[in-house]
């Protein structure tokens, strides 16, 4: 099969890549939801502290469309709801009972699936809390149940350091993945599996599925980049996407009629106590995932999601709704004598200004900024690294000067928010943040 090869971009070689071994994690005593990390959602709580919930009880709904509900990932008692500034909902914590009650949903049988009208299927997915797994490009907001997308991308494989490997997540769950694909086929005429990584899982995919393979450097697994590389017209810009593992959940839901809570996650990074895949459940506490603490007792940053696009979570927090990866990276909070002139044999860099350009081994990364913030000197590193051919240095200046129209013409909405421009900028300008904020602001204005 012809693969689309991504040349622009950059794969940093970070030590601590999770292997393909899968081990079971102990059942947690409590699970949690982290609504503040779901972009654009305006949550309205449907439970209070002290309420008894079962797996599948709605915890909150989206005020913008109350049919979109987020269900409880555990059965037991809501022990705490943590609010942040301006009453943003930080966490909903549920202490699990020994035998958790589980809500049953009215779902079509596998045989009925062929004949069921699209709207009925949408209603079923909405009722079962499965709808939020579908998201829309380019803003990555929840999909709108009232529209039909031009296409649905199934993102199979994550190349951001580090996420679950489809070889592990798909293993012995191929049939449920196939069932999930059948569901997606009912929602949209054009469903494409965008595969990155190991080609060997091709045989595990449904025969009639349309598969497009992507190779090359990070972020070839990013749906925005995949859309940018495959689209032929602007009518395809509002494609939906869903993660490969979540398609398995769709299959699970149709088969069992219950809200699926099992997840396969990765723990990685140079300070991970045991890097690898773990089988656990949604909303697992971070402290349980990285039990034992960072290797060597060093100060580590716990990153929920990948090291480019994830967020730093405190150990008493929980895994997010969309994140299936936890990375522990050295915090890097230390000074370095004469750092600017060292040969840097172990300093990772996109440039060739370090001797590390000759190094082939993975690097122990840290979260240091490696320099102070300076003005943009138009060096063009960001434009060379950008996978969707935006000119970040010029687009950033358009946005700073409030020229939104011009920034849009530059392809602002194609921005994959992959974080490479922020990573590579020698002036340490947070370009991704500038674009993310601008996109969100524009989205709020047009919706």
């Amino acid at each position: 099969m012809n693969a689309i090869h991504l040349k622009k971009g950059f794969s940093i070689r970070i030590a601590g890549a999770p292997g393909r071994d899968l081990h079971r994690l102990d059942t947690p005593h409590q699970v949690g939801m982290v609504p503040e990390r779901i972009p654009f959602v305006k949550p309205r709580l449907l439970v209070e502290e002290g309420d008894l919930v079962s797996i599948g009880t709605p915890l909150f709904e989206d005020k913008r469309n109350t049919r979109i509900r987020f269900l409880s990932p555990g059965g037991g008692r809501v022990t705490r709801i943590v609010f942040g500034p301006r009453r943003i909902i930080r966490q909903i914590i549920i202490a699990l009972d020994k035998d958790e009650p589980c809500d049953a949903f009215d779902v079509p049988t596998v045989e009925q699936l062929d004949a069921i009208p699209r709207q009925a299927l949408v209603d079923t997915l909405l009722a079962g809390g499965m709808w939020p797994f579908l998201r829309t490009l380019p803003f990555m907001d929840l999909a709108d149940p009232n529209t039909v997308p031009p296409s649905i991308f199934v993102r199979l494989g994550s190349d951001e350091p580090f996420g679950p490997d489809p070889v592990v997540t798909l293993k012995s769950r191929e049939d449920r993945f196939g069932l999930g694909m059948d569901v997606l086929d009912k929602l949209c005429d054009r469903v494409v599996i965008n595969l990155t990584g190991d080609e060997s899982i091709l045989s595990a995919l449904p025969d009639q599925a349309v598969v497009q393979r992507f190779t090359g450097c990070y972020p070839s697994g990013n749906p925005s980049v995949q859309l940018y590389r495959t689209r032929t017209g602007s009518e395809q810009n509002r494609a939906w996407f869903i993660d490969g593992q979540d398609v398995i959940l769709l299959g699970d839901y149709i088969r069992t009629g219950r809200y699926p809570v099992q997840r396969i996650m990765t723990v990685g990074g140079s300070l991970a106590p045991a890097a690898g895949h773990v089988s656990t459940r949604a909303g697992v506490p971070l402290s349980l995932l990285c039990s034992g603490g960072p290797a060597g007792g060093q100060a580590a940053r716990t990153i929920v999601g990948g090291v480019f696009t994830g967020y730093a979570g405190s150990p008493d927090s929980f895994m997010g709704f969309y994140q299936n990866a936890l990375n522990l990276i050295d915090d890097g909070d230390r000074e370095e004598p004469f750092g600017f002139i060292r040969p840097g044999t172990s300093k990772p860099s996109y440039s060739t200004a370090f001797l590390s350009a000759f190094r082939r081994k993975p690097f122990p990364m840290d979260c240091g900024q490696h320099g102070e913030v300076r003005a943009c000197v138009n060096c063009g590193t960001c434009a060379r690294i950008c996978p969707v051919d935006i000119l970040p240095q010029f687009t950033m200046k358009c946005l700073v000067a409030d020229e939104v129209e011009e920034a849009l013409a530059h392809g602002l909405l194609d921005c994959a928010e992959c974080g490479l421009c922020t990573y590579a900028c020698p002036s340490k300008i947070q370009l991704r943040e500038v674009f993310q904020v601008a996109k969100a602001q524009y989205y709020k204005e047009i919706s």
């Binding site: 602007s234 730093a312 440039s351 979260c367 000119l391 010029f394 974080g419 900028c425 020698p426 947070q430």
Partner: protein, 398 residues
């Protein structure tokens, strides 16, 4: 040693912080401290990991690339001075003499430039940008060895304040600050910047007659060629061979005579990715593209017409300060264009303009300074059209 240094910074820091006696000088303290110790800054949010390259290293590499011409310039300045003065030509005395000329200029340039930098940084409450270290070094390297120190001070003041700070500081200037300073000095004090006598510092000791030893630079000689006279013969008679011009042991501005040393610096800049090779190659192509046709016309007319083209095109690459200008001045990312295609065009235009100024306008013996400044002005325009052409190919997404 490092601990003692750290302790020194820790004990002096309170004076420079809010409420301290020297609070206003905090940018200066910060600049010095961050040179000694890369600060312990961690990423605020995503991307959590960052590249190891920062602007400090970026600019330091330009300074490293400037070292070959700098040290050769010290040697050559001393050598030319001792040669003209009839003094000892041994290595050590020559180096001492060169250092005596070049280092005071460098120190004045850095001290006065730093004063303005600190002043603006304190008022604007931002950190001192490392770009200044490059400007402060570049400027004295382009001056004749006889330049009075007060002119160095005036020049760098003009370059930093008018060339950079009034536009908003580093990253916002439209002209290269070092070249702005050089151009200002060139037009403000022409007597000290051109003519035959400025290129060699002659010691008045001994019985040497000053007039007898001054020499015109190759570029000053060329316009003197009359019809039918070959430029290379004139140069040859003055003792300027291609090899000498390439190595650079000739009188001239202190550090820009040697094309060889600039080539070394260029290789370093390109390998480390700090300097853009497109501008450099574009510049060389530009020189040849204008000089070659002219040279062919000169040859085909049997040497009767177009005498200003009589010098072999390749000589243009090693004469004057073209090599220095295209390697170190034109590749300044701030005042140059940002798109790769416009960098080719920009470099080409600089090379072409340099030759045109040299051959058509004998009043300005050196064209590269004006060529770069002129193209600095056009860099945003080139980017504008290159970006426009590129955006037309995008699938729109609004």
């Amino acid at each position: 040693m490092m601990k003692a240094l750290k302790r020194l910074f820790n004990t002096t820091r309170p004076h420079f912080e809010n409420g301290g006696r020297l609070e206003k000088l905090h940018p200066l303290f910060d600049a010095i401290e961050t040179v000694a110790f890369a600060p312990a800054l961690t990423t605020r949010s995503d991307a959590h990991v960052r590249d190891s390259l920062d602007l400090k290293r970026f600019m330091t590499f330009v300074i490293i690339a400037l070292m070959p011409p700098f040290f050769f310039g010290i040697y050559n300045t001393g050598y030319q001075s001792h040669l003209a003065s009839g003094l000892n030509l041994g290595f050590v005395p020559v180096i001492m003499q060169g250092a005596r000329v070049v280092l005071p200029m460098l120190m004045v340039s850095y001290a006065v430039g730093l004063f303005w930098e600190v002043l603006f940084a304190s008022i604007r409450k931002h950190n001192i940008s490392e770009g200044f270290l490059v400007t402060g070094l570049l400027f004295p390297m382009t001056l004749p060895p006889t330049t009075p120190l007060w002119q160095v001070a005036v020049g760098i003041s003009f370059g930093v304040v008018i060339g950079k700070e009034i536009f908003g500081g580093t990253g916002r200037n439209i002209l290269n600050p070092a070249l702005t300073a050089r151009a200002f000095i060139f037009f403000a004090y022409p007597a000290n910047m051109s003519g035959d006598r400025v290129w060699t510092l002659v010691e008045q000791s001994g019985q040497q007659a000053v007039d007898a030893v001054t020499a015109a630079t190759p570029l000053a000689l060329l316009p003197l060629a009359t019809a039918g006279e070959s430029a290379s013969r004139i140069l040859g008679e003055a003792g300027y061979t291609f090899q000498r011009l390439f190595i650079g042991n000739i009188p001239g501005s202190v550090c820009e005579t040697s094309a060889l040393m600039c080539l070394l610096g260029a290789v370093f800049l390109v390998l480390t990715g700090v300097g853009n090779y497109r501008i450099m190659i574009g510049g060389i192509v530009g020189v040849l593209a204008v000089a070659y046709p002219g040279y062919l016309i000169y040859l085909s007319s049997g040497g009767q017409t177009a005498t200003m083209f009589s010098v072999h095109p390749v000589w243009h690459l090693v004469m004057g300060s073209f090599a220095f200008g295209i390697v170190y001045m034109a590749t300044d990312p701030v005042s140059g264009p940002g798109m790769e295609l416009s960098r080719w065009i920009y470099g080409f235009a600089i090379g072409a303009l340099t030759v045109m100024i040299r051959v058509f306008n004998p009043a300005y013996p050196e064209g590269v300074m004006l060529a770069i400044l002129f193209m600095n002005l056009f860099a945003p325009l080139m980017d504008h059209f290159v970006i426009k052409a590129r955006l037309r190919k995008r699938v729109p997404n609004v």
